[in-house]
Amino acid sequence: MNWKILPFLLRKEFLLEFRQRYAISGIVLYVCSMVFVVYIAALRATPPVWNVLFWLIVLFASINGVVKSFVQESGNRQLYYYQLAEPVALLVAKIIYNTVLLLVLSALAFLIYGLVAGNPVKDLPLFLLVLFLGSCGFSIAFTFIASIAAKANNSATLMAILSFPVIFPMLLTLIRLSSIALRLMQDTAYMRDILNLLAIDIILVTLTIVLFPYIWKD
């Protein structure tokens, strides 16, 4: 495969984002308003509630951040890319871009939420690792689902119903790991969970790369 095209594709993604800037700023505002709504609804959240609400914020922000990745460009332009680059290179570029986007988003969400609702995290390195793995997993799964959903007319609904069941095991593992980072649970064998998470990520990325060419061609 021709990987030389990858940097150009990546540059294109970032450039598009930088020019429009409405996506990232929209998502940041979305995170902010969601944090405030959550804060007002559950003023002083206890750590278990904090944990669950935080992951819900990240989950919804991620879905909204990723869903546009295939919709924003018109059919003609997609045809143009199809002639220029191989589908896998395109997908990898999208996944890398979405991962960076989600990392920024979840870091922002953590900062704002931590600032507003207090920060009960006791084991910060573990929490950041979990956040990183979660963002990677979300970005892989959602990019793939978004590529399917973009082909349909009601893509937003389809995006939600297709992605929630797929993301469920990952989300459970993430919440469990982050509750260990919050010292809500004592579990010294959390390495196994991290490996599980990595394994899920690897399975998903492999499948996505194998299956994407079939989705892409029209």
Partner: protein, 351 residues
């Protein structure tokens, strides 16, 4: 089609054998259930499927056991009727280990109906402070549990809490086996469809997924009926129940995805891709995640009830045919589904 007849025969066999074969004799409860060291007491054993009154020429024996080495044999055992037995014990002055109270298992041995056990059936207390524990071991060791009779013939194990619902093993568990086989077939045909876009493969993938979904729902319902009797309520947000519900949501999403395109070929292709993707995320869903959380469900987290040790040979003779029978029935349903779909597609001029 020999396998369709086979499935009917096997399921009939499972229905008849699964519902008619009796349970082994068991002890439901014992009264009184709190004893004191040193007293002479008459215990009343309430049996289930027992024949206390028909004990032939050999007498019944009843033990209270502390552990493998320590047991007290009843001085006499008198049957009131078939299900009530009175056993007279002279309890030792002390306990074999340094304890002030302990739970004892009750074992009743019938010459024909075999031995039955009630784990932790009575609590025994040591309340005379002067007596030293571990001293007079002799009384505890005088009559060890030995020469137990085994019930011959066709019967299922008696287990406390589960009782007669043990028969659900032949309905609830095979549903999941059938589901796994059907979903695997569905993914197989989705893969074939991606390699070679024949409408036939897509119809087969959808039909197997539909049949699998049906079995998933049946498995969930039989599980809820079972849970109602053993866990006390049909839905207790157990991790396995949640995972199953989510797994079924995946396939509901698959059907919605198939129908949300105007172009059937495009829908079929995207649905095939989603089917493979969803199946791969289903495996961690069903096999990895439940092991990370505490569960009421037997199996993964090592709570008792249905490990392989609890499936005795009589149960195996019904359980394995049940798996084969239900799986074949699932394939039959799927075959009917895709044949109907093929006819409809022909009528619409799609094939």
């Amino acid at each position: 089609m020999w396998w369709k007849s086979l499935s009917v025969v096997l399921i009939l066999y499972v229905l008849i054998a699964g519902l008619l074969v009796p349970l082994k004799s068991g002890i439901e409860r014992v009264a009184p259930d709190a004893l004191r060291c040193g007293e002479t007491v008459t215990l009343r054993l309430y049996g289930y499927n027992t024949f206390f009154a028909k004990n032939g020429d050999q007498a019944m024996r009843v033990w209270l056991t502390f552990d493998d080495q320590h047991a007290v044999l009843a001085e006499s055992a008198q049957a009131i009727n078939d299900t009530i037995l009175e056993a007279r014990f002279r309890l030792p002055d002390c306990l074999p280990k340094e304890k002030t109270s302990a739970y004892l298992n009750v074992i009743a041995d019938h010459p024909e109906a075999g031995a039955s056990i009630l784990p932790a059936g009575v609590e025994i207390r040591l309340d005379s402070a002067g007596v030293e524990n571990g001293r007079a071991d002799s009384l505890w060791q005088m009559h060890p549990v030995e020469n137990l009779h085994v019930q011959t013939g066709f019967s299922y194990p008696y287990q406390n809490v589960i009782y007669e619902t043990i028969r659900n093993t032949y309905f609830h568990v095979p549903m999941w086996f059938a589901l796994m086989f059907l979903f695997t077939s569905s993914v197989w045909f989705s893969l074939k469809y991606l390699r070679d876009a024949k409408p036939e493969y897509d119809r087969k993938a959808a039909a197997y997924a539909e049949s699998g979904l049906l079995f998933g729902l049946l498995g969930l319902v039989t599980g809820m009926i079972w849970a109602n009797y053993t866990w006390g309520q049909p839905w207790s947000n157990d991790i396995k129940q949640l995972m199953t519900a989510v797994a079924l949501l995946i396939y509901l999403a698959y059907f919605i995805l198939r129908r949300s395109f105007d172009d059937p070929q495009k829908g079929a292709r995207l649905a095939a891709a989603y089917n493979i993707f969803a199946f791969a995320s289903l495996i961690p869903l069903l096999y990895i995640v439940p092991r990370m959380f505490a569960s009421l469900h037997p199996g993964a987290t090592g709570n008792p009830a249905f490990g392989s040790q609890d499936l005795d040979n009589t149960m195996r003779a019904v359980f394995y045919p049940a798996i084969i029978g239900w799986t074949l029935l699932g394939y039959w349903v799927a075959e009917l589904r895709f044949r109907i779909q093929r006819l409809e597609d022909k009528k619409m001029g799609l094939d």
